[in-house]
């Protein structure tokens, strides 16, 4: 019996990437018709996005999502009151004490990655391990309760950032979220030609008699995935350049 699972998973990925892709491209098209200052830099979008995540926000912090520290309000160390100049600041430069995570920091900033869809996952993994070595709550078992709590939050946030950025799908969806777009689960706005294509692939897979035939379909699907990933990257990059 041929195992269809990996290819079904690839199909699913492709389906969602395709849907994500369509939204990316339509967003790029939309943004070209507005002036730059109106759309993506609009604080309104960022504010509603942050609200949707249940975070409090202020106008200054919203710019940390895109830029390096231009015009952000100064945050100080909770222990020694010295200003924290980095974003994100995991530890105070002066007294080395662990800091609480700053609300609204993008996962890209946390993992020190460029804000692009194509990501070096090895680099990401390296950074993840590096950060967890410093921030994991096990390192703080002898420290104060406040420090333990802060390290817990930081560690959890780094986990979240890592898992989101690791896979192309969650990364793409997160980037769309940052642009103020949410993809709902549902069948609306999908083209029937797309479902036809999906149906045909599934049927071909079902009719495959040999592992070689199944593999060929798998390779084709992976090729389509790679193509779509590239298209999404281009679309997102174009959109970012329009800011």
């Amino acid at each position: 019996m041929l195992s269809a699972k990996p290819f079904r998973a690839a199909c699913s990925s492709w389906a969602v990437l395709m849907w994500t892709n369509r939204l990316c491209i339509s967003k790029v098209c939309m943004s070209t018709s507005f002036s730059i200052k109106d759309t993506w830099h609009c604080n309104r979008n960022v504010r509603s996005l942050l609200k949707a995540r249940g975070l409090t926000c202020n106008t200054n912090q919203s710019s940390t999502l895109w830029n390096n520290c231009s015009g952000r309000s100064k945050v100080s160390c909770w222990s020694c009151k010295q200003p924290l100049d980095q974003t994100p600041a995991f530890f105070c430069v002066s007294c080395k004490v662990v800091q609480p995570p700053e609300e609204g920091t993008s996962y890209f900033k946390i993992m020190a990655c460029d804000y692009t869809f194509t990501l070096d996952t090895q680099q990401l993994q390296k950074k993840y391990l590096q950060l967890q070595r410093l921030l994991h709550p096990d390192n703080f078992s002898q420290k104060s309760v406040t420090e333990q709590q802060y390290s817990e939050s930081q560690s959890a946030l780094v986990n979240k950032a890592y898992t989101t950025l690791l896979k192309p799908l969650s990364r793409g969806l997160y980037m769309l979220e940052l642009e103020g777009m949410h993809i709902k689960e549902g069948t609306e706005s999908a083209h029937s030609a797309f479902f036809m294509e999906l149906m045909e692939i599934n049927e071909a897979l079902d009719e495959a008699q040999t592992p070689e035939e199944a593999n060929k379909i798998g390779q084709d699907t992976k090729g389509k995935l790679a193509e779509l990933t590239e298209q999404i990257d281009t679309a997102l990059r174009k959109g970012i350049l329009l800011q």
Partner: protein, 165 residues
């Protein structure tokens, strides 16, 4: 909301009567026996001639979980659904929902079939909350098939009108 692609779905195909290693019918953790029944003994799997004037085809999908569902109905001249077929690629609940949908539409008129609700399907199959979207998909498939049939009928009528004039 990030969509878990690592699927909630079984990732199974509907066409072949594959036997799963029989799940134990313990509470909580398994598919309901009605769902398993539809999976192991699917009713009305297959295809109808989509080019026929009396056949309506509904093709729907849920990209979030990779489910694709095709439901076809054959309607006689009195507007009654005389045959229905489905093909679903998705989890057991999606297969069961579409299988049940084809069972229910048979014998109904086109207007009666429109009244089938996803809540009825979910109730009949005892779907857990996480699988309710499968019954929603089945309802959408029925509606899509009916809409396609209506469109074909309208096109047919228009052709008849322009031919006679």
């Amino acid at each position: 909301m990030a969509v878990p692609v690592a699927s909630k779905c079984l990732g199974s195909l509907s066409l072949l009567s594959r036997r799963l290693s029989a799940p134990e019918f313990t509470t909580r953790c398994c598919y309901h026996k009605k769902v398993v029944d539809h999976y192991e003994n699917p009713r009305n799997v297959g295809t109808l001639d989509k080019n026929s004037r009396n056949v309506g085809t509904g093709l729907v999908g849920a990209p979030a979980c990779g489910d694709v569902m095709k439901l076809q109905i054959q309607v006689d001249d009195q507007g009654k659904i005389v045959d229905a077929r489905f093909k679903t690629f998705g989890c057991g609940s999606a297969i069961a929902s579409s299988s049940l949908a084809t069972e229910w539409v048979k014998g109904k008129s086109v207007d009666e079939a429109l009244t089938i609700r996803n809540t009825d399907i979910a109730k009949e199959l005892c779907l857990p909350p996480v699988k309710l979207h499968c019954s929603m998909l089945a309802e959408d498939a029925i509606k899509a098939a009916l809409a396609d049939y209506r469109l074909k009928q309208q096109d047919g009528q228009q052709e008849a009108v322009s031919a006679s004039s």
